[in-house]
């Protein structure tokens, strides 16, 4: 089979240049898309200082002082802007998306609070907002208003209860209030931000880059379609008649296919490193090996399933699109139901995306690589069986 392997490599040489050119164009398009998404996310995050409307505080010394403190001293000032406005203005601003939510503090709130009566504060927010940032905004504003309202209710309620049983609430109430301020001003110690659904070490940028790489890899496999789809099995039959086993033919074809994919990836990586777009480490390169084997074997199997170019390209394209979508290569997997997320974690594209994202974040896990190699062997075996059936199935 040495001659067959040699000729297949020679055949690869004939098509590698056009394949590289097409892959480079795809790479360029995807890289631009990735940059656009990342910079949009960055801008979004930079501009994600939540604007929060406060209605009904005008003229109230205490509330205005409190707002001034929140906007100038409190650690929340880096992420939240409290804006004083009237209700109509707040509603209009919220509809325009300028503020995430607003609270309406009823007239006489402070006077009543002095006597321990808490008038309900109305919290108004948008419904149906979509996207990571808006989800976070809604969550945070709700959390902040809950804390403010419930804690104040608690403090004043305690004061009132003490008065009712004949105890002086003065010192205790002051102590609780100061304790509360202390708690509010230093609350950033109490929580940690966790990326939704992503591995603990992986940030959004690494996640997107992982998905981008898997998508690119699958598209590179698609570039080889004219070369890989076999409508004529006669050479395989002739080889088989000359005691060249089908499994060895498939092994040679697969090995050459992997070499082709690896060459294209290597050139694109060099371009990415040379332009400073990506940093490569030995760890990242090692992670690529099982991924290329598994993804290559999957597309090799898909090519074996088809007998003409159009069906080959369509099957490959829709299969890769579906797999990439379900496993979160196109859109964060967090937005899918739990069952889909669980499934994605075991699908080859899902594992590949996670492995790459982790390697970009500097984390190495071998279990995913082993699983991918397992998938590679499985897909290759299936492709071998299909080829065998196609070669031996001669009717007429």
């Amino acid at each position: 089979m040495g001659k067959y392997l040699y000729l297949q490599l020679k055949r690869l040489l004939r098509i590698i240049v056009p394949a590289l050119l097409v892959a480079a164009v795809l790479f360029g398009c995807l890289a631009l898309a990735y940059q656009a998404v990342v910079s949009l996310a960055d801008d979004d995050q930079a501009q994600a200082k939540i604007k929060f409307g406060v209605v009904g505080t005008a003229g109230d010394f205490y509330l205005e002082a409190g707002m001034l403190a929140l906007n100038t001293i409190d650690s929340s000032r880096f992420s939240i802007d409290f804006m004083q406005m009237d209700e109509a203005e707040a509603e209009a601003a919220m509809r325009r998306g300028e503020i995430a939510a607003f609270v309406v503090i009823p007239e006489g709130f402070m006077d009543e609070a002095m006597y321990g009566n808490i008038l309900p504060i109305k919290y108004v927010s948008t419904v149906g907002a979509v996207g990571l940032v808006s989800l976070l905004k809604d969550e945070i504003t709700k959390m902040v208003s809950d804390i403010v309202i419930d804690t104040q209710k608690g403090i004043f309620g305690t004061g009132q209860a003490m008065q009712e049983i004949g105890l002086s609430s003065g010192d205790a109430e002051y102590a609780l209030t100061f304790e509360y301020f202390d708690f509010i001003f230093s609350r950033s110690r109490m929580y940690a931000v966790k990326d939704l659904g992503l591995a603990e070490e992986v940030g959004l940028e690494e996640y997107l880059l992982g998905g981008f790489c898997v998508l690119l890899l699958m598209l590179i496999c698609l570039v080889f379609a004219p070369w890989m789809v076999r409508s004529d099995m006669s050479i395989a039959r002739m080889l088989s008649a000359r005691r060249r086993p089908v499994i060895l033919q498939v092994l040679c074809d697969f090995a050459v296919y992997l070499v082709g994919i690896a060459c294209v990836i290597a050139v694109l990586m060099l371009v990415a490193v040379w332009t400073g777009w990506m940093k490569l480490t030995a760890g990242i390169l090692l992670q690529w090996i099982p991924i290329v084997i598994a993804m290559g074997a999957l597309s090799f199997l898909l090519y074996e399933l088809t007998t003409n170019l159009i069906s080959g390209v369509l099957l490959q394209f829709f299969a890769l699109l579906a797999l990439c979508f379900v496993t979160g290569c196109l859109y964060p997997v967090t937005f899918f139901p739990d069952s889909v997320q669980n499934l994605a974690a075991y699908l080859p594209t899902g594992i590949a995306r996670a492995q790459l994202a982790e390697s970009f974040a500097g984390v190495m896990h071998t279990d995913g690589s082993l699983l991918l190699l397992g998938y590679g062997v499985l897909f290759f075996a299936a492709a071998g069986l299909i080829r065998k059936a196609k070669v031996t199935f001669v009717r007429g």
Binding site: R11, S240, T392
Partner: protein, 222 residues
């Protein structure tokens, strides 16, 4: 040399495609196998070539069952399946060296089978740019790499023009004259005239048929 095909049977699911196919062919003879599309002609040749297994039967040459002895079969039997058994991105020369040693190929191109087939005329042409006739001549040239005394051809001149058919027919006549045994499946009258005996496969059974050039009679029998 003589070949004996005995009781070859093949079943696809419940359908008996070949039933007890029995046939013997002597040296320098050509057998034409005819039949309607899908009757089992290609199946029979692929079984004899070792591409697929028969459910039963034997293919004996010089006392050796070639269905069981793959090494001997590869040595004695040349097989040209339907289609184009060539690597389309490569040249005729590249395709030849898949089957021949370089030195042997050069020798055959000078005064051997490849010379007779006229392959030297398009040695550097890429297969995808070749005409149907060139491809078929090259395919036969590849199948003749070990100079097999038995040649199985599955519709060798289908869809070729008359000049190409004539060229191939001339080579096959030469092969016969040199003592080769030819088994070919065909629908073509020109190829039928090459044959010394004719058989029709009908309902999986091989029936002898006397072809006297009367195509209408042949069509009736199919």
């Amino acid at each position: 040399m003589q070949i004996e095909i005995k009781n070859i049977s093949k079943k696809f699911k419940r359908k008996n495609v070949l039933r007890d196919i029995t046939l013997s062919v002597g040296e320098g003879k050509c057998i034409g196998i005819l039949g309607a599309n899908g009757c089992g002609k290609s199946t029979l040749l692929s079984i004899l070539a070792g591409v697929q297994h028969a459910d039963g039967g034997s293919f004996v040459c010089d006392g050796v069952d070639l269905l069981k002895d793959a090494r001997k079969r590869a040595e004695l039997v040349g097989y040209v399946p339907q289609g184009t058994p060539l690597i389309s991105e490569l040249s005729a020369w590249d395709n030849l060296i898949l089957w021949y040693d370089k030195d042997t190929a050069k020798q055959e191109l000078e005064n051997g089978v490849l010379h007779l087939l006229g392959i030297g005329d398009f040695l550097k042409v890429t297969v995808s740019k070749m005409s149907g006739g060139m491809k078929k001549r090259l395919s036969i040239g590849c199948a003749m790499a070990k100079k097999p005394p038995i040649l199985l051809l599955d519709e060798p001149t289908a869809a070729l023009d008359i000049a190409c058919k004539q060229h191939i027919a001339e080579y096959l006549q030469h092969y016969k004259r040199s003592g080769g045994i030819l088994l070919l499946t065909t629908h073509d009258v020109m190829e039928l005239s090459l044959c010394d005996a004719w058989y029709i496969i009908r309902d999986g059974v091989l029936c002898p048929f006397q072809f006297d050039g009367d195509v209408a009679k042949l069509v009736e029998c199919l």
